[in-house]
């Protein structure tokens, strides 16, 4: 059952009414291939007698992903986190230094570099692209800097040319967390070959669903060879430097990734339809808008996320709206919030600069339900709900304050 109509604020789930959605609508893609196709591929792996350690499916996936991204190498991994850890470690070359990263980003980032023996150095982001701000990066570079980990967001890969130039000037390795950039372009060129390497995810909630998984793309033969040798977890070679990490992708996950890649255009088209519906659903609600994608005539995007911006014209705060909407069966969450440098994910004792844009952005956004489990009708209901909340904003805000929700 969906779409329970709200006649008054007492019908809101948070105030005791029926929920809009009985089963929570997720914020991940969760696209799945046909089960029979999946079983046929896994059966192949069973018959080949190899369920991991670089089986045929993993090799095929690597070849197809390299072709898709237009790069020389794809190195499949157990997940994206391990790829970023391996790159941070590789570029640090046994030094204990700092890795530059955006503070408005995924909470795992500061952890990845600490596993690699580095400290995070949080930088501010651009107000529009939400990616690393060049001035902030330049001010953060110092003799302890070992690398720059830039993040490509769903709405923009950032100023890649500017970052590359800055990294070159300071002779620093630059690589990208491109988890949200599968299929996206920068200046008309598909992401995958920028910087020293890019890291992608095959997690079920991402564009390509491989259950869990990740991969690194690069045009650097030496780096690719090194990562391939490191990911087996152990190296029996006295002359080979580097710390191995068990990061193999298994065949069950590779099979899923392969089938997912085959239907990537369909997945993106579905995302586009849902995003367009969201645009229509919120366009008449004052104070609400969606973070936009680049002009489709200039750049390709994957429309993987729908992120709602709440400004002062809306009667509720971001957190009030989040609590209210969550109760209705929308598994929404605050987007990149809290800011990393102010969160529990910031290492204790780290000297923190004020990062005004990041701090401002971190209070403004909500990630809306997306993916295969959200229908266009659902989005219509969500739009009606948001419109209803706006209309009854003052009464709802009063009631929320009574309940202690600010």
């Amino acid at each position: 059952m969906t779409g329970s109509k709200k006649n008054g604020i007492h019908d809101l789930a948070l105030f005791g009414g029926a929920r809009l959605f009985d089963t929570p609508r997720p914020i991940g893609q969760l696209a799945a291939p046909h089960v029979e196709e999946y079983l046929a591929l896994v059966r192949q792996a069973f018959e080949a007698g190899q369920l991991s350690a670089h089986g045929q499916l993993e090799q095929q996936l690597e070849a197809e992903l390299a072709a898709y991204h237009g790069v020389r190498h794809c190195i499949a991994l157990a997940n994206a986190a391990l790829g970023l850890m391996m790159l941070a470690k590789h570029f640090a070359q046994d030094r204990h230094g700092e890795v530059i990263m955006p503070a408005f980003s995924f909470r795992g980032l500061p952890h990845f570099v600490q596993w690699a023996g580095q400290m995070p150095r949080f930088c501010d982001v651009d107000r529009h692209s939400h990616t690393l701000d060049l001035g902030s990066v330049e001010r953060a570079i110092n003799k302890r800097t070992t690398s720059i980990m830039s993040v490509c967001n769903f709405n923009s890969p950032g100023n890649i040319d500017g970052l590359c130039q800055l990294a070159d000037e300071h002779d620093l390795p630059l690589y990208f967390d491109s988890v949200y950039a599968v299929g996206c372009t920068y200046r008309g060129k598909k992401l995958g070959g920028f910087g020293a390497a890019e890291v992608y995810s095959l997690h079920a909630t991402k564009l390509l669903n491989g259950f869990e998984g990740g991969y690194v793309t690069t045009d650097d033969d030496g780096l690719a060879d090194k990562l391939r040798r490191l990911r087996d977890g152990a190296i029996n070679d006295e002359d080979f430097p580097g710390l191995a990490l068990n990061a193999r992708l298994n065949e069950l996950h590779a099979a899923m990734g392969l089938l997912s890649l085959q239907q990537i255009d369909t997945i993106i088209a579905g995302n586009r339809r849902r995003f367009d519906s969201y645009l229509r659903a919120v366009e008449h609600v004052p104070g609400l808008s969606l973070i936009s994608y680049p002009d489709a005539s200039q750049e390709e995007s994957n429309y993987e996320m729908a992120v709602l911006e709440i400004d002062s014209a809306f009667p509720l705060s971001r957190n009030q709206l989040m609590n209210l909407v969550r109760a209705e069966g929308l598994a929404i969450s605050a987007y990149y919030s809290p800011a990393l440098h102010l969160s529990e994910h910031c290492p204790k004792g780290l000297k923190i600069d004020s990062l005004p844009t990041t701090e401002w952005l971190a209070g403004r956004y909500l990630q809306l339900p997306v993916g295969e489990l959200v229908s266009l009708a659902d989005i219509g209901f969500i739009g009606e709900l948001l419109g209803f909340v706006y209309e009854h904003g003052t009464a709802i805000a009063d009631r929320l304050r009574e309940q202690g929700v600010e």
Binding site: Y38, F46, A78, H111, I235, A244
Partner: protein, 364 residues
């Protein structure tokens, strides 16, 4: 004939489990099958808590982090490839320790010599179906206060004095990698009775606010997927049967090898791998010569990554064993006749070793 995994999940049962995942559309992130596996495996291992993770390398990294270790960890030099590396990823210094020459298991005497103020823990390694000095290490823990934890990667099916290998030490981790008695395409599981530690481990392995059970400084993505958990559940269901079949093969090897001079079976009957030790003087040939004689893929060598060890002389027994041991084929479908043939071939090589050596020298 090749060295193949000792067990593979039944396809029919696997198919049913995988269909269930697609029906639920729940693929990753603390799903119902992972929860079920954690509950069932805790019962199997005789511990209160089991935490499934993506692979055995990350199991060790997560466990070391959860135990708040710093500085040095003493590790038997004869251990699973990747053990030293995983400890280093966890910011620790693995200190290799020598083993007993007859079993390959850690030498308590050698451990005692290595304990310094920098030592933060001792990692015991149960090898090839044999328990690793559980009583002695427990006594050492009481004496020194150093935490003891165990690599039980090979030991899913092994019991010691009626108890699972998972019951010893503060915590232990098992492997479900291809090559073990439960094969879930990588995969591993950490077990413990310590609730605080379990909460830390569950937190360390993910970044989700809703799966944060303790304050921990460092986290990682170490989650096992629903697909992996599906296979592990099938493997656990079939463990007894596969183990019985495997032991039958091991016994056939034990019988066949017992009459060959210079060959000794190091692995116990319950080991997922059949490991033999070659005494060159009595067998007549050294391991690598045997390799070049038989197709290499029929046998697997075990080497110690010597670049990770500063002084080979300190781990003489481990290094010696690593140069001498060989893994023989043992997998589902292997017949007793095939095992007899391998044994007969080894017997023929031993009987004719002098002539073989001479021939190999003249015709390398």
């Amino acid at each position: 004939m090749r060295v193949l995994p000792p067990a593979r999940p039944d396809w029919g049962k696997t198919e049913t489990q995988l269909r269930g995942i697609f029906e639920r559309r729940y693929f990753a992130n603390h799903g119902p099958l992972v929860n079920k596996l954690d509950a069932q495996f805790a019962g199997h291992a005789g511990r209160k808590y089991a935490i499934s993770v993506v692979n055995d390398g990350l199991a060790l990294m997560i466990l070391a982090q959860g135990l708040d270790l710093q500085g040095e960890v003493i590790v038997p030099a004869l251990c699973r490839p990747g053990t030293f590396e995983a400890l280093r990823w966890a910011g620790l210094v693995p200190v290799p320790c020598d083993v007993e020459p007859d079993t390959g298991l850690v030498s308590i005497g050698a451990i005692r010599k290595l304990i310094t103020p920098r030592t933060s823990a001792i990692l015991g390694v149960h090898l090839w179906g044999r328990p690793c000095a559980t009583e002695e290490l427990s006594a050492l823990n009481e004496e020194t206060g150093l935490p003891i934890f165990f690599d039980a990667t090979h030991g899913v099916a092994v019991q010691h004095e009626g108890k699972s290998l998972g019951t010893f030490g503060q915590a232990a981790y098992f492997s479900f990698q291809e090559g073990e008695m439960i094969n879930c395409a990588e995969g591993a599981c950490i077990v413990t009775d310590d609730e605080k530690l379990a909460n830390k481990l569950r937190t360390i392995k993910n970044f989700h606010p809703t799966h944060t059970y303790a304050q921990v400084p460092l986290r990682i993505n170490g989650k096992m997927s629903e697909a992996q958990a599906a296979l592990a559940l099938v493997g656990l269901d079939e463990l007894h049967r596969n183990n019985q079949a495997n032991m039958g093969m091991a016994r056939a090897y034990a019988k066949g090898l017992s009459v060959i001079p210079g060959l000794r079976m190091l692995s116990a009957m319950v080991s997922p791998k059949v490991i033999i030790d070659i005494d060159q003087t009595r067998f007549g040939l050294e391991r690598n010569a045997l390799f070049s004689l038989m197709e290499k893929e029929n046998l697997y060598a075990h080497n110690i990554p010597s670049h990770l060890i500063n002084n080979i002389a300190d781990v003489e027994n481990a290094f010696g064993l690593a140069q001498r041991i060989v893994q023989l084929p043992c997998h589902p479908g292997l017949t007793k006749e095939s095992i007899d043939k391998v044994c007969l071939l080894l017997r023929a090589i031993a009987d004719n070793s002098a002539a073989i050596c001479q021939r190999m020298e003249t015709k390398p």
